[in-house]
Symmetry: none
Subunit: 207 residues, 4 copies
DNA sequence: TATGAATGAGAGTTCATTCAT
DNA sequence: GATGAATGAACTCTCATTCAT
């Protein structure tokens, strides 16, 4: 409990968090080890000491952030009883909000960087695949829960979850990129509409 | 027809093409001016001579490629009479094919790089926005054509085109990233299903 | 007599003049051939065509400017009858004026650049030596004229001219460098005082 | 006392000294960071590590050298009791010697480079001004000391010191530039003559 | 564990100069 | 004579990484 925490796992997390912030702020390829070190309050040498190479650090940072985001979301959803409410909340959480929250936007920025990296790094590609599978499974599970509870229509859960996840990716991307045709509100309501129409829950029409 | 092509616009295009290839192959931030020069068969100095700065070259290269792809697609579509055939072909063209075609995959790789760049460069962001708007307009126009011809159901063309474009982005991305859950065939058929179901054309159910 | 004069000697002079202006404005080592070409209204290739190498151009430009300045001064002095008036005028001309005249200041800037270059280039060193000798001879000649006319005291003309030239160099330098202790007026009056005191002409005291 | 000297202030001085030597040898604008690094026995990267930019290094090097020279001179003068001896020694030190001493000539070369730089860099201009003021003050102080001791005539110390400094500048310059009309001996004796005549000390006439 | 010092390996960019036209 | 195109050779500066302490 000194002012400068010393032992390893704590420091690792501090550095990863710093890395995530820097990547979100400056982009993957403009991120310097010294930027990360500075934000983490240490030296570049220490950063390398913990992660051996810049490459490994960046890869870990990207998945660390997405993993953490998933766990937070997952945890929040567990507390919601009805499947339709759970799905609605999932959509709300995953679409960027109208009021720019750096946290959520940062999350999406990291996805884009992760995609770009996965294109050339098999290791990153596999990690990304796992993250996305888990995400789609979560959706599919909600769907199956709702179907068992009689809340949702009986459609193919796997197909639906893939379609929904892809739609969210595509629309959230536009929002994060600042496309003036795609406001956060519009994106969200389009996704909700699709979900309601296909699963036949709630009021299918937004007035 | 000399062995050393000389005059300006030709050379510019050669360099842009080389840039596009290198970016697709190595990624935006691992692309060196000298790589591009080498592939274009010239010197790095000449590349700078034409584009003044690496930044401008990369930005131009990205939009050049997407613009060219769009024009090719657009041209091909004009020759198709029925709106439903036109939409079907558009979907086929824009989803990556099962057999890896470097051309199409390259196109999608460039989109990812373009997104990543647009996040931090307002200029790039605006150019990307324009490209996407044009793409969605093209879809919307096909929809309206089909509706006038009585081929399609009477849904909101703007909403549909945004949803369809986003779905394509989201699914094509998974394919290009090599997600083993999302084959090119599956992606394509999911998109077609959505289109058929919403616009009520062709056989709505894939057996 | 076309708008763009074509034949050689004219063009040479134009380029030299452009070179002098650029050197005075940007300093010798920040002078680019293309700057000179631009100011002369031609291409860098033509500049090289006339002078073969940047080095030769710069050397010629420096001596060209100083030579021209000398000739102008010399010409003006010939029209003055009395030796003391001639010397007074010479001092006035060679000290930078209180009101910053780019022409005169430029002249002094070029001297500094010429000195710097002469330190490492024997050829430039010899040319500079010749220029300075001619200048000191001019002073010495005025002194001898004045002595013959009974205007001046009978001191060693060679020593005096060397001392006076050196004093002018030293003081003008301070003025051009913007030393706030050495105004143009003060420099000029110090030089005049020395001349009057040593040669015993005019009123030795400046009121 | 290790083979590789490590700590900062020592290294800084080493680099500055190397810079001074290279500048004197090759001239300011032909001085490369790598030349300095090589002479200092390190890498160009380290040079930048210490000075951040070439510009700052050069500026510091120029003033470093002149400052050091001043301090040495000043220190030597303090040990001389009589003002006239002190002034005589000051003149001897500041005029380049007949036998080419690289140290002294180097000093003067640096002055020329400093002047050239001061013409375009306000920061350098101010530093140069400060150096020259200090130098002239030193002369003026000697004069006032001599006047109080009754060694010197009662003339204006400020004017005299400015005139003497300018004369030294002008004559030393000729010597350093290798003007065959101005030997070191002649320059020195001219300056001494002026000093003796104006302040009326020693034997005013050199036989 | 932690870091400042040190560096090699480039990167982008500049620029004098050449050359075909 | 005149020039735009082209390039090789540098140069400054950056940065991941190493190492002694």
């Amino acid at each position: 409990m000194t002012s400068k925490p010393k032992f390893t796992p704590e420091r690792r997390r501090q550095i990863l968090e710093a890395a995530v912030e820097v990547i979100a702020a400056k982009g993957l390829c403009d991120t310097r080890i010294s930027d990360i070190a500075e934000r983490a309050g240490t030296s570049a040498a220490l950063v390398i000491y913990y992660f051996h190479t810049k490459d490994r650090l960046l890869t870990e940072a990207l998945t660390f952030a997405e993993d953490r985001f998933y766990l937070q979301t997952f945890h929040e959803l567990t507390n919601i009883a009805s499947a339709s409410d759970r799905l609605t909340r999932l959509i709300e959480i995953s679409c960027p909000p109208e009021v720019r929250s750096d946290e959520i936007v940062g999350e999406w920025i990291l996805w884009v960087e992760l995609w770009s990296r996965a294109l050339r790094d098999e290791d990153v590609a596999r990690k990304r695949e796992a993250l996305d599978r888990r995400w789609r499974s979560t959706i599919a599970e909600i769907v199956r829960d709702g179907q068992q509870a009689g809340e949702f229509a009986d459609i193919d859960a796997a197909d639906f979850s893939l379609r929904l996840a892809a739609l969210i990716d595509g629309l959230a991307l536009q929002v994060v990129l600042g496309d003036r045709d795609v406001t956060a509100t519009r994106a969200r309501s389009l996704v909700l509409d699709v979900a309601r129409r296909e699963l036949q829950f709630g009021e299918a029409l937004t007035p």
